[in-house]
């Protein structure tokens, strides 16, 4: 009897906790949607800001975020996948491997503002790229490298040893096996990691604070060395600068809604791909 009551209370507590958690997610989405939906219009999505950021659209910020995402992925995806291949397929001596693994995990734990300062010192100043898309992309790229590496490593490790052996047994070299069998088999898992890191990069503010972002530029960036507007930074700037807080706040919520939708869509794609990958392996 007593055991039953304890069980019921325990179950009640964990389910309440679960609902609190879920409600946070829905509250955030609901709150942002209600506050932001008012300013969303075709014009908001496709035109330039006007009247000192109090009217018009945020198209340059959307475009800027797009450039930063593409730039950072161009840098981080090949580097991350290559690193993962080295670590899983050409496993070096175990203590070296451990050292590398610890370094990568530590990289994942570094606060994002540190990447911003690092980017400022190295890419903006030392390499002379200035405050630019390229500096911001590189800073963001380093930030998501650990995410891409661990996703790729997991995907590569999930490729059964038996098909590696099958390939080697027909006289394929190790490199041919990796290139034509292992990596293609791991691709869906790798892509899931890439997509998740796109969501992460799109929303990060601190790494681009000193390396890429600006509150306002006229028109669109025309080279990798231009400064850009970007959605997360734009939200920050709207809330802290300028002289018409009430108008700017509405626009900031609009930007939040765009950013949130973007991240949710990207996660949705990742979930869909993971599901497809699973059904493929069980074909």
């Amino acid at each position: 009897m007593r055991r039953n009551i304890t069980e019921k209370i325990g179950f009640g507590i964990v389910s309440v906790c679960m609902w609190i958690t879920v409600s946070f997610l829905f509250l955030i989405i609901f709150f942002i949607a209600v506050k932001g939906i008012g300013v969303i219009s075709w014009e908001f999505l496709t035109s330039q800001p006007r009247n000192a950021m109090t009217a018009g659209g945020v198209a340059p910020a959307i475009v800027g975020t797009f450039y930063l995402v593409v730039g950072s992925m161009m840098f981080a995806v090949p580097l991350g996948i290559a690193t993962a291949i080295y670590l899983t397929e050409y496993s070096p001596k175990s203590y070296v491997l451990n050292l590398i693994r610890i370094s990568i995990n530590n990289l994942a734990g570094v606060p994002s503002v540190v990447f911003g300062l690092f980017g400022l010192a190295i890419f903006v100043k030392f390499l002379g790229f200035g405050v630019s898309i390229i500096s911001g992309s590189l800073s963001l790229g380093i930030l998501v490298l650990p995410l891409i590496i661990s996703a790729a490593q997991e995907a590569l490790l999930a490729v059964p040893q038996s098909i590696r052996e099958a390939s080697l047994a027909v006289g394929a070299s190790k490199w041919q096996t990796i290139k034509k069998i292992v990596v293609p088999a791991a691709m869906p898992g790798i892509l899931t990691g890439v997509i998740l890191s796109i969501g992460r990069v799109a929303g990060e503010t601190a790494p681009i604070l000193f390396t890429a972002a600006t509150f306002y530029i006229k028109g669109y960036p025309d080279s990798p060395f231009s400064e850009v507007m970007a959605l997360p930074y734009h939200i920050y700037a709207l809330m802290t600068e300028g002289s018409h807080p009430e108008k700017q706040t509405a626009i900031a919520y609009g930007c939040c809604l765009i950013l949130l939708s973007l991240v949710l869509i990207v996660s949705g794609i990742a979930i869909y791909m993971r599901k497809r990958e699973r059904s493929y392996h069980h074909a």
Binding site: E165, A166, V170, G171, A283
Partner: protein
């Protein structure tokens, strides 16, 4: 005993270690041309370890060491000047669990040809079909060559793996418990295939199924705890084994 045949592969004083643990002790064994050589023995006796030495597959396992010689046409395949990739082209292997690539049926075989430097599309197509025919699979799959190989049944997958192996025209075929995961009907098809392939290839097969060894092989070696206890013609091994331990195993007293 082996007058009418020539030796294709020969193991000479082979010792093999996983770390410090010795898995094979002083193995001497000949695999004769165009014969089927079966290796039997209880689980963990070293029979799979042994057959995986014949195409240098065990090199992939870290922390192993090997002494002795393994000859293919009188040349030591363990010699440092010889590339393992080259050996695996000449000595093909079919594994315990069917392991088709997650590709379509056609690509499973064309891959083997492509990695060996063959580029001519028509030639590849001919070889794919020829290999599927030789593996007695073509009629079952000819209308769906571009469907995923993973959709085939276990027995079909195993024959696809055999076809993949045949496509690059190896000289020796190694079968590592090829029927371990198959039902009796698929098993019979594979056995018939082995008898058919004997005409053109030298075959070595590891099996824990004694009846299978009796049905398909010309010579049988009995392994026990890393040692080759007895090696002789299959009839001799099964009718009048020379060693008490072989007799005990054959008659089902252990293993």
């Amino acid at each position: 005993m082996r007058d009418e045949s020539t030796v294709k592969m020969r193991a000479e004083k082979v010792n093999f270690y996983y770390g410090r643990q010795q898995a094979l002790k002083d193995i001497n064994l000949d695999v004769l041309s165009n014969k089927v050589t079966a290796i039997i023995g209880p689980s963990g006796c070293g029979k799979s370890t042994f057959i995986r030495l014949l195409n240098r597959m065990n090199e992939l396992v870290p922390n192993t060491s090997l002494t002795g010689r393994i000859l293919l046409d009188d040349k030591d395949i363990l010699d440092r000047s010889i590339d393992a990739v080259e050996i695996r082209r000449r000595v093909g292997m079919v594994f315990q669990k069917p392991n088709p690539f997650p590709k379509n049926i056609f690509e499973n075989i064309s891959y083997a040809l492509e990695v060996n430097g063959i580029k001519d599309k028509h030639y590849i197509e001919d070889r794919v079909i020829e290999s599927l025919q030789k593996a007695a699979l073509y009629d079952e799959v000819k209308t769906r060559l571009h469907e995923s190989a993973l959709k085939l049944s276990g027995g079909q997958q195993q024959r696809l793996c055999i076809a993949r192996c045949l496509s690059i025209k190896p000289e020796v075929l190694l079968f590592d418990e090829p029927c371990a995961s198959l039902d009796p009907i698929s098993t019979r098809k594979i056995e018939e295939l082995i008898l058919e392939l004997k005409k053109d290839y030298t075959i070595a097969i590891v099996t824990h199924n004694m009846q299978q060894a009796a049905r398909v092989s010309d010579f049988t070696g009995f392994f026990l705890m890393g040692e080759l206890i007895e090696f002789d013609r299959t009839e001799t091994i099964f009718k009048s084994p020379g060693d008490k331990r072989t007799e005990d195993y054959i008659t089902g007293r252990f293993g």
